[in-house]
């Protein structure tokens, strides 16, 4: 059986750098930080007091009151990003067989805020369990894919992927593979997360995963810098329409690029720490390259996981050098988390869009906040520090790694 080709025909984004793909890309290329003091809750007693929040967000601008009440913010972001992507792609129920369109969404956690609020109400009550009937359907991570399918009537394969910070890359990978196998003509895929709440911040603080640079939030996310002290929490959603190539051509769709590889591996090493030599990271990139026999030398840009944690950043650069050998020094590498913060389960989708637009525009967005070289990071690697770089980008690879040792990569290629 011949595998189908898969292309990207629509994009959508609601991020800390902007609530549309255009605004997101503009700020990404300009090296803007999306970081600021937390506004979503009283953070007086919290170790970390800043995050990359979505700005100017009011649920009622997007949903009527009754609808908004039934949607955790992670599902709201999912619906907003998906709507932009669907519109961008021009797919609609009239000119497409809706049984052939699926939804695969990624969320690392799901409705953590809803969960916290409901439990708090119970604990503060008289012991009678008065849980809201929407508690479970608001909180469960898979509900995002459900909502998107219900909104558009897309009746193809439908589920969520949960692999922490690799979730939406797994979603994109699954959508890619199912289209290749002929199981559907198109997918709404992507991911969303909304964990900037008490439990989200304090939970990651307890793991000592978050930066605590409270005196200078905008420079807190500094991947590969010697002074990096943890990641910065982000939130939002991003969506891609993946479509079978012939199908896209037939309906005259605008094609951004082709999806040519997807890798998925495990570290099998530790709950939260990466494998010290980046073994899983190395294998996942190799696995993605193998899908279409892409040679390492063909890759121009890697959007790294690069979360700004002390150990993770080192392990990833070691893995890149293993996979790419001497070509590692010809690559442009950047961590856009330096600007967006870490959108957890949505990171892969947001960073895939960064790769796709790097291909479209031949510009590599920067890794901002570089102050001091880390002797443990090979300085011959081009990390695209501080300023975007123009370069012909034909092939771009995005890495994401999740707590639990999940690794996922995806590769995009100009068409």
């Amino acid at each position: 059986m011949e595998l189908k080709r898969v292309v990207v025909t629509g994009l959508g984004a609601i991020t800390p750098l902007g609530n549309s793909v255009e605004e997101f890309w503009k700020n990404l290329v300009n090296g803007e930080s999306g970081c600021a003091p937390i506004t979503r809750f009283d953070n007086t007693n919290f170790k970390t007091k800043f995050a990359c929040e979505v700005k100017n967000y009011a649920p009622n601008d997007h949903f009527d009151r009754k609808e908004a009440r039934k949607l955790d913010m992670f599902a709201q972001f999912a619906l907003i990003a998906a709507e932009q992507a669907v519109q961008d792609s021009g797919i609609n129920a009239e000119d497409i067989d809706s049984d052939e369109v699926g939804v695969i969404w990624g969320a690392g956690i799901g409705g953590i805020q809803t969960f916290s609020e409901e439990i708090t109400k119970y604990v503060e009550g008289d012991g009678t369990p008065r849980f809201n009937p929407f508690f479970i359907p608001k909180m469960i991570a898979d509900i995002a894919a459900g909502h998107i399918s219900m909104k558009y009537g897309f009746r193809g394969p439908n589920f969520n992927t949960v692999s922490a910070c690799a979730s939406s890359t797994n979603a994109i990978g699954d959508a890619f593979n199912l289209i290749r196998l002929g199981k559907a003509k198109a997918f709404v895929t992507g991911g969303s997360e909304a964990a900037i709440c008490e439990a989200g911040i304090a939970g990651f603080n307890a793991m000592q995963a978050l930066s605590t640079r409270n005196d200078d939030p905008k420079t807190a996310s500094r991947p590969f810098d010697k002074g990096r002290d943890g990641f910065v929490m982000g939130e939002g959603g991003a969506s891609l329409i993946l479509e079978e190539y012939e199908h896209a051509v037939k309906r005259g769709a605008t094609i951004y690029c082709e999806v040519v590889g997807s890798g998925m591996t495990a570290d099998a090493h530790h709950l939260t720490a990466p494998h010290p030599e980046g073994l899983g990271a190395k294998n996942v990139m190799l696995s993605a390259l193998k899908d279409n026999d892409i040679k390492p030398e063909e890759v121009d840009y890697i959007n790294v996981h690069g979360t700004s944690t002390p150990r993770g950043d080192i392990a990833e650069t070691l893995a890149i050098k293993e996979v790419f050998g001497e070509h590692a020094y010809n690559l442009n590498i950047s961590s856009t988390k330096s600007m967006t913060g870490h959108l957890l389960g949505a990171a892969g989708a947001v960073e895939s869009i960064a790769c796709i637009l790097a291909i479209k525009n031949n510009i590599v967005p920067p890794t901002i906040n570089h102050f001091e070289d880390d002797p443990e990071i090979d300085q011959k690697l081009n990390m695209t520090y501080d300023k975007a770089q123009e370069r012909e980008v034909n092939v771009a690879l995005s890495n994401t790694f999740g707590f639990g040792g999940h690794n996922a990569s995806v590769i995009f290629k100009a068409i």
């Binding site: 009151r65 609808e67 009440r69 008065r130 809201n132 009937p133 929407f134 359907p137």
Partner: protein
């Protein structure tokens, strides 16, 4: 309108996102006000909280209209 009726109405307007004028005594939660089964459960819970009563499930099943809710609460509220 009784105090109970106006409080019941306010809850319905809030939870179902409907216009006040639609919330007539005869209006059915599901047929007229767009509620699904989960919405109806939520309404019952809100009535319990607002009026500090417990509505057993077998009684709740009989509360299908605005009028049903008001009568039940008038009879059972402390």
């Amino acid at each position: 309108m009784s105090d109970i009726a106006s409080r019941v109405k306010a809850i319905i307007v809030d939870k179902l996102g409907v216009d006040e004028t639609e919330v007539t005594t005869e209006a059915s939660f599901t047929n007229d006000l767009g509620a699904d089964s989960l919405d109806t459960v939520e309404l019952i819970m809100e009535f319990e909280k607002e009026f500090n009563i417990a509505i057993p499930d077998d009684q709740a099943e009989n509360i299908g209209t605005v009028g049903d809710a008001v009568s039940y609460i008038e009879e059972n509220a402390k």
